[in-house]
Symmetry: C2
Subunit: 359 residues, 2 copies
């Protein structure tokens, strides 16, 4: 492996990723993959072993190595910190773990307003020193921008309320309607947690952040607007002063894209259900990120290539597109396919200024 | 139980359900619930016992009784035949069963074009006499229109290709892209099957049909247009001559609603993710059906009532709205809640002609 070229944070402003986040023209369309640091990589499986992801995250050298693996392998334009949306909850001892192959599990789910006492302010230097150390190691190693991330209040709340992954979010939806008072306080508490978590990652050296509201697409637009948007805005606007690009992502969010942008995002992540041209219209002047269906990466290579070209075509060759999948890399993906996608995007993507001015 | 009033098929044209399907003004907004005949009802659990749903469907007296139960209990404006989307597949011996609590399972999934030989034309009088007998019994018993139904080619194909329920539809998506030739023939074969199944139900006395493309919302609009829409159109346009309303439904189909209407539907079913006012715009002059989130029916009654009123408000009080859930009744739903929803819709729903003419 050649020694990576080290840029400082300012230098990254000239990187294709940062330019795309800011809707600036660039020589190439940047690309990274959600869950690029993960089980699809043999080198990941080799260093990770079994056990909770939280144990691996707690080891800065290991977490940094896992973060670097996909940058080396795929030649992507951004690294995303190897972490998990429940890290801040675990750090304040809410009682959460991540079961391999299943997801976050909360031993004692939130059932009433008295559970709000289990949330307290995150003190990053005391509560998550290992995460900050990982970021600092990476800033010294990476030749591309580092994306920090947090779970959005709704998605994190859904795990606390349901006790684990859900396909219906029945308790969560009932709660926001029947107990809007304590739901609101729960969301406020989780917004503060996400905000502190993101600020700490940026202050340690992350160049951008992504707020994952993975399951927001389960909600009606009215529910999202009333019961979710205010807390997400509190997070995203709360880091506006840091000046780093803010990406906001969820699955199945076609009807929510406009609001997700208005929550204070610079970039809105889009799954494969909305063509990027239409997504651009919904998010106004913001950048878009996406939107190759990760399932397509299990199809023959010529299918993947055709789909990647379709994404580029629908993005329209204008600035403000970060190529990505529409959801995380599936564990059974052949890493060679993602390498080829990154090559194709770099070779064929265009991000030129629109004739006559800005896009 | 009072003896039901028996109308003939012609009389049903004056029913609120049929008027709504045809976008005609009516005194009341009609309501029925997808999966209204099912596990939420104690009387259903009592008569059904354990075992495959296919065994129960094969007993006309039992299937008719189960179809009638929710009409008696909830006072809904339509009955839906107690049946399953895999009935025609089972009837031509494809080798499919329905595992309780899990869904359709295909013992020997379709893996190559040679499997197309396993599809043959449905001969309703020979292959599904029990279904036709159930319909005939119901036509003599029901005081409301009977909806027949079939699975749309894509959703049925997904079970054949995946071998059972899926959360990713990875094989199915790969197949339509990598083997468009045999995918197309598979879809054609399944379209013929659905068409024959629906025609037979209507000829036996069903007043309307619903084509369930439950999982179409997993697809990008491009994939839907190219690989799915032609087969669905073949089904819906293939029964146009029968003159019965055709309802077309799927989950998460916000980006597909316009195409689902153009496939030949009179009514487009909508889940809770798209407000009905917006859905009306997307489906042009067609009627809409929906869209209370079924999960909300597990919330306290005042929440359910508020949500039902929101649905009515978003439908705009114009003709061409059939109140329904946005997906099937959840098994743990309190039947009393659905009774209350039906009452509320009947008492508060309005379906008046728009000022100045048709909607």
């Amino acid at each position: 492996m050649p020694a990576p070229v080290v840029f400082g944070p300012v230098a990254f402003e000239e990187s294709p990723f940062m330019k795309a986040c800011r809707c600036l023209p660039s020589d190439t369309v940047p690309v990274w993959f959600m869950r690029q640091a993960g089980r699809a990589l043999p080198e990941y499986r080799q260093v990770r072993g079994e056990g909770s992801i939280l144990d691996a995250i707690a080891e800065p050298e290991l977490a940094a190595e896992i973060t670097l693996q996909p940058v080396r392998r795929y030649g992507v334009d951004a690294a995303i910190l190897f972490s998990d949306i429940v890290v801040p909850l675990a750090a304040i001892d809410v009682g959460v773990d991540v079961t391999p192959g299943h997801g976050p599990v909360v031993a004692d789910p939130f059932r009433g307003p008295e559970d709000l006492r289990r949330l307290r302010a995150l003190e990053p230097e005391e509560d998550i020193p290992h995460v900050l150390e990982t970021v600092r190691i990476l800033v010294g190693e990476l030749s591309v921008p580092l994306i920090g991330f947090a779970g959005a209040p709704f998605t994190v709340a859904s795990y606390l309320v349901e006790g684990g992954p859900s396909r219906t979010w029945a308790r969560t939806k009932a709660l926001m309607h029947s107990e809007p008072g304590w739901w609101g306080r729960l969301m406020d508490g989780l917004a503060e947690l996400a905000l502190a978590f993101l600020r700490a990652q940026v202050e340690a050296g992350a160049s951008a952040v992504q707020l994952f509201d993975s399951w927001a697409g389960a909600l009606s637009p009215d529910d999202y607007r009333q019961h979710v948007l205010p807390a997400s805005r509190r997070v995203l606007e709360g880091i506006a002063d840091l000046g780093v690009p803010r990406i906001h992502f969820g699955v199945g969010t076609g009807e929510l894209l406009t609001m997700m942008g208005e929550a204070g995002a610079d970039v809105v992540g889009v799954d494969w259900r909305v063509p990027l041209g239409e997504a651009r219209r919904r998010v106004g002047g913001r950048a878009v990120q996406g939107n190759l269906d990760p399932v397509m990466c299990l199809a023959p290579l010529e299918v993947v290539e055709a789909e990647a070209r379709r994404v580029l075509a629908q993005a329209g060759g204008l600035p403000g597109h970060i190529f990505n999948l529409g959801h995380g890399v599936m564990p059974e993906t052949d890493p060679g396919v993602l390498t080829r996608v990154a090559e194709l995007v770099h070779a064929e993507g265009r991000a030129e200024a629109a004739p006559g001015g800005s896009p």
